[in-house]
């Protein structure tokens, strides 16, 4: 706790970001001095950085610290999301280690960008101030714009980058204008100021809020701001897609949760449009996934629906809403990363194994990857004994406590899940049905992928069978009355 130019700085709260920044800089440095031979080292540094940052976060557990003149906080709204970000960063780097030279882009830039993107996400998660939110969001986005194009030998990757940057900037414009109006209506940038203004909502405030929600909704890929997701997910390199699917959502959800709880203490009636967006997302996401033939696109659509589910946790702003959301986020991260890891395992850094036409009969040829994939899909579908099931249970409970909107959200959640039974069941159905043994049997067996797959599967099962392990963090995550 030192003071700098009259502003008190709590180093422990900033430590994770600093550690990670150090790792990023180190990567760039090593990349300067060494040539491609040391590719593995670069990713290793990143992973170590993530782990180190994670370690520095442990002491922060249970505390809530605000620093930088209240602009940045490390508290219940950031802690778990940061962990998810770090975890997804580590897994992404693991999977990226299979990248080959011909995949384009220098490994150093690639790894460093991933690290900085994660930092951006952590900044978002901790931001208690409109300006910091914007700052973190842009750092995350700018890095991802580039990463999306990092597979540029493939036209799809370039196209993904272009679409992402155009639409992302458009969304940012809404965020900026919305922030401006909120600032105008509340006379300050801190969320507390905005909260004060929320008590007597003026037209200015409401308009600003709407535009702000649009900006965040784009990053969350809530329908109808989701259209970029399928294309960008399909085009980007596999590992980057995995990172997008988890990290971006984690960071944006952190912002959304903080705004919901801090700005709108217990009365979320003003946020009703957000619930409507969630409902549309659950439907569009699941229905859109029905006819997909590309697994990356399919997971894109499914992520749209999954975010819709997670928003249900906020609908009631109940004391347990945050922990419900957090639990489902963790479950979602584990299963999604796991699914991408299985794809990476089969693809083995080469031709991406995203075409669903390649999956029929997989169980007979590669039983264990198929079983793992089935497990992840069952978890996404919310079949019991997986993390996804208990998460859904918590979310449904939150919804039921949230009045008519909550009930509507719950019913939609159930309907969407029924549709998703088909979506995910179809792949399992394919993998386990009789087919002529294909000529090419995916032989990928890389250790990093296996590690990621195993971690995902283990986490999914453990959280599914022993959710109380997670629930131990509930006292910290439960939000008392403001």
């Amino acid at each position: 706790m030192t003071a700098f130019a009259g502003v008190t700085i709590s180093w422990p709260a900033l430590a994770p970001i600093l550690v990670l920044t150090g790792a990023g800089l180190l990567i760039m440095l090593v990349d300067l001095v060494s040539r491609a031979t040391l590719r593995g080292l670069l990713y290793g540094i990143g992973i170590l950085g993530a782990v180190g940052a994670g370690l520095t976060m442990l002491p922060l557990y249970g505390h809530s610290v605000t620093t930088l003149a209240g602009a940045f906080a490390s508290d219940r709204f950031s802690w778990l999301f940061d962990l998810v970000l770090l975890g997804s960063l580590a897994v992404t780097l693991l999977l990226s280690s299979l990248r080959r030279a011909e995949d384009g882009g220098s490994p150093g830039a690639y790894a460093a960008l991933l690290v900085f993107a994660a930092i951006g996400g952590m900044v978002m998660a901790g931001a208690a101030n409109l300006m910091i939110i914007f700052l973190g969001l842009e750092q995350l986005s700018l890095a991802l714009y580039v990463l999306a194009g990092m597979g540029y030998p493939r036209a799809a990757s370039q196209e993904a980058a272009l679409k992402y940057v155009l639409l992302g900037s458009l969304a940012s414009a809404f965020l900026i204008f919305g922030s401006a109006l909120l600032y105008g209506s509340s006379g300050g940038l801190s969320l507390d100021a905005v909260h004060a203004a929320a008590s007597v909502p003026s037209g200015l405030f409401v308009t600003g809020l709407a535009l702000f929600v649009v900006g965040i909704g784009f990053k969350l890929a809530l329908a109808p701001f989701h259209s970029w997701v399928p294309d960008v997910y399909e085009g980007s390199p596999l590992a980057v897609t995995a990172f997008m699917a988890v990290a971006v959502k984690a960071a944006s959800l952190a912002v959304l949760a903080r705004v919901t709880y801090v700005v709108f203490g217990h009365d979320t009636s003003a946020l009703a449009p957000l619930w409507l967006l969630a409902i549309i997302s659950m439907l569009v996401g699941n229905v859109g996934a029905i006819r997909q033939r590309n697994l990356k696109r399919l997971l894109g659509y499914s992520s749209i629906a999954q975010v819709g589910y997670m928003v249900v946790g906020l609908a009631g702003v109940g004391p347990q809403g945050l922990s419900a959301l957090a639990f489902y986020l963790v479950a979602y991260a584990l299963t999604t990363l796991g699914a991408f890891a299985v794809m990476a395992l089969l693809a083995d850094g080469g031709e991406e194994y995203a075409d669903l036409g390649a999956y029929p009969g997989l169980a007979a040829r590669r039983p264990w990857p198929a079983a793992a994939m089935a497990l992840f899909f069952f978890s996404l579908a919310g079949i019991p004994a997986t993390a996804g099931f208990y998460g859904k249970l918590l979310l449904l409970a939150e919804g039921l406590a949230a009045g008519p909107w909550g009930l509507a959200l719950d019913v939609t959640l159930v309907v969407g899940t029924v549709v998703s039974l088909y979506v995910y069941g179809k792949i399992v159905w394919d993998m386990y049905s009789f087919t002529e043994p294909e000529a090419v049997v995916p032989t990928g067996n890389a250790l990093p992928s296996w590690v990621a797959v195993a971690a995902g599967a283990l986490g999914t099962l453990v959280l599914g069978l022993a959710p109380q392990l997670f629930a131990m963090s509930q006292p910290f995550l439960s939000v008392g009355p403001r």
Partner: protein
């Protein structure tokens, strides 16, 4: 006391001997010579018969007060544990009731049953399923014994269903003949209708008496009001009607003649089809207090007796004629028990068992020798070819027609007499008229089979009758002759035996009351029938063809059995089957499953819509975003109190 332990154990031995026989045949049958299984079956029934005789003597030597035994199995459980059902308040134990009534039936079932078993040994020799046949026969004896020995309505129903099964199996014994299969199905389905009737009666009994046991129900039968008892009686009657082939559920019996002849003799003449009579007699305390139901019973019996006889007059299949005559005779019995002349009904059941079994066996000999020929138009002049069969058939006919001093005379006379004693002149008139018809169709049958010129058929008579077939026939000739003499004017040997069973009924008049008018009327009616048959069939004259022409419509009506079958076909069969196949073919696949499929199609279509919108055009994505912005903005403002708020601050 030895006798009591005997009375306790004997019933179960009697009951389970035939079951044991069936099981033994089923298990070891395939491994031993076919004759062995026949022997097992016969011995089982013979043993049951011997024990029954012993038991009967034991019971009838007791004081009347002690002539009704109720034995529960296992005796030890009678107190605390129920053998069948134990769901308070409903408890049903496995109890048997032995009294004059059940003993009478048991004696006939095992006695006549044994004779027919013996007869089958020779008759079925060239059947492929020889062992199976005897197993089924034993199964039937067991079920029938259970039916008449049961001590409560539930076990009665179990036996009731068991005989239904046995009859089903034996009617369809020639399983490759579609006709036999269809006949079997018909018989079982109609019997199930009867079972449902009895079940309904039991529901009501349980509702009003909280029990299904004869003892408890009959003890305080008056506890339930007359209307309730009437309903119970009606539902029981439904069961009786189905089983005893009375109107209107009679159509299965003629078809049942598809079964082998011994089966027709045992099940569809002597024993099973009389179960309805037994049921009414057994439930007499109910009918005694249910006048309407009793009336219905009597009317049904009388109508069946008459109409069946009329149909019998124009049939050409020897076994069908006998079948209709069976229906008619059972009609007599039902009529008797309906008016309360239980002893008379029982008496007629006994004699009928003798002479009808005899007739069927004789017919069996003929069919056997004619290689399966059953149409009397292809017979004739068999008196010389098959003298034994002829004499047997003659005795049976005389007994059936109630000619003095054959057994039928006494029993039929007893019924008609009771009708007058109990003041039912109309029923009596019909009964007597039926006697005329009976004589007519029986002698018509006799003449066409054994006389009327020479043999008209092609089938050659092959190897004569084996001893195992002729011995029982000879025995039955004797029984058909003297069987009725237990009741002769001045001495009633039957009623005392039954008295105890019917102690609680008021209408148990002695059978030794004879009135000349009744007897003469009956004999006269018989004579008329005989003369008619003689003139029409033995004295070829112009009379017959003219009659044929003038009565053609009547003939058609009778030949088609009053079109009852056709009516049922169009009334029930066709609609149900059409509806069923429509459901299975269209409704279920289209409506139920189709509904689900429609939902699936809708979801898929929606999925396509989403894909169509997601066309890859950045600017379209932007547009959709913008639409979203407008919606969200509008909603936010609307919820915040509309545009008014815009001016605020």
């Amino acid at each position: 006391m030895m006798t009591d332990t005997f009375a306790q154990t004997a019933p179960f031995t009697i009951l389970f001997l035939p079951l044991l026989g069936m099981l033994v045949i089923a298990v070891v049958g395939p491994r031993v010579h076919r004759a062995a299984s026949a022997a097992i079956a016969n011995l089982a029934v013979l043993g049951a018969f011997a024990l029954t005789v012993a038991l009967a003597l034991d019971v009838w030597h007791r004081p009347p007060s002690d002539q009704v035994l109720t034995v529960t199995y296992p005796p030890a459980w009678a107190a605390h544990q129920q053998f069948w059902a134990h769901i308070p308040p409903l408890t049903v134990s496995f109890e048997l009731r032995i009294d004059g009534l059940s003993l009478a039936w048991m004696l006939i079932v095992t006695g006549v049953g044994f004779l027919i078993h013996l007869y089958s040994v020779g008759y079925m020799l060239d059947s492929r399923w020889y062992r199976t046949f005897f197993a089924y026969m034993n199964l039937f004896i067991f079920a029938m014994l259970l039916l008449v020995m049961a001590g409560n309505f539930l076990w009665l129903l179990v036996g009731w269903g068991g005989v239904g099964l046995a009859s089903y199996l034996l009617i369809g014994f020639d399983m490759h003949r579609p006709a036999a299969v269809a006949a079997a199905r018909k018989a079982l389905i109609m019997n199930v209708i009867g079972d449902v009737g009895i079940m309904l009666a039991m529901f009501l009994l349980f509702a009003h008496f909280g029990s299904l046991s004869y003892k408890e129900i009959f003890a305080n039968v008056t506890a339930a009001g007359t209307p309730a008892l009437n309903w119970i009686g009606i539902w029981l009657l439904l069961g009786a009607v189905a089983k005893s082939a009375q109107l209107p559920l009679h159509t299965w019996l003629p078809d049942a003649m598809e079964g082998p002849t011994p089966v027709s003799a045992l099940i569809h003449a002597a024993t099973m089809v009389t179960a309805g009579v037994y049921l009414v007699a057994r439930a007499h305390p109910i009918y005694d207090h249910a006048p309407a139901a009793a009336q219905a019973v009597a009317v049904v019996g009388c109508a069946t007796a008459f109409f069946a006889a009329t149909i019998g007059c124009v049939q050409y299949d020897i076994k069908r004629v006998l079948a209709y005559s069976t229906m008619s005779q059972i009609g007599y019995m039902v009529l008797a028990v309906g008016v309360g002349a239980y002893a008379a009904g029982t008496f007629h059941f006994i004699t009928h068992a003798f002479f009808k079994a005899l007739l069927f066996m004789a017919a069996g000999i003929i069919i056997h020798n004619l290689g399966g020929e059953q149409d009397i138009r292809n017979m004739g002049g068999l008196a010389r070819r098959l003298p034994f069969a002829f004499w047997a058939f003659l005795v049976g006919t005389l007994a059936l027609c109630g000619v003095f001093p054959f057994s039928g005379f006494f029993s039929k006379d007893a019924i008609l007499d009771q009708l007058l004693v109990l003041h039912h002149p109309v029923l009596w008139a019909f009964g007597t008229a039926t006697a005329a018809l009976t004589a007519y169709y029986m002698f018509r049958l006799l003449f066409m089979t054994f006389f009327t010129g020479g043999f008209r058929g092609k089938a050659q008579t092959h190897a004569g009758t084996v001893a195992s077939m002729s011995v029982p026939v000879a025995l039955l000739i004797g029984l058909a002759l003297v069987g009725g003499w237990i009741v002769v004017p001045g001495h009633d040997g039957l009623t005392p035996l039954l008295r105890a069973a019917f102690a609680d009924t008021g209408t148990m008049a002695a059978l030794d009351h004879f009135s000349g008018i009744v007897s003469l009327a009956a004999l006269g009616a018989g004579l008329v029938g005989f003369v008619a048959a003689y003139l029409l069939y033995e004295r070829p004259s112009g009379l017959r063809p003219t009659l044929r022409r003038s009565l053609q419509p009547v003939r058609n009506l009778l030949a088609n059995a009053y079109y009852v079958d056709a009516t049922y076909h169009w009334l029930f069969e066709v609609p149900v089957l059409t509806l069923a196949s429509d459901i299975a073919r269209y409704l279920d696949p289209e409506a139920v499953a189709g509904g689900a499929a429609a939902v699936a199609r809708t979801a898929t279509a929606a999925g396509d819509a989403v894909r169509l919108w997601e066309a890859g055009y950045v600017r379209r994505y932007g547009l959709s975003m913008l639409v979203g912005v407008v919606i969200v903005l509008a909603l936010f403002l609307y919820l915040a109190g509309g545009t008014a708020a815009l001016g605020g601050r």
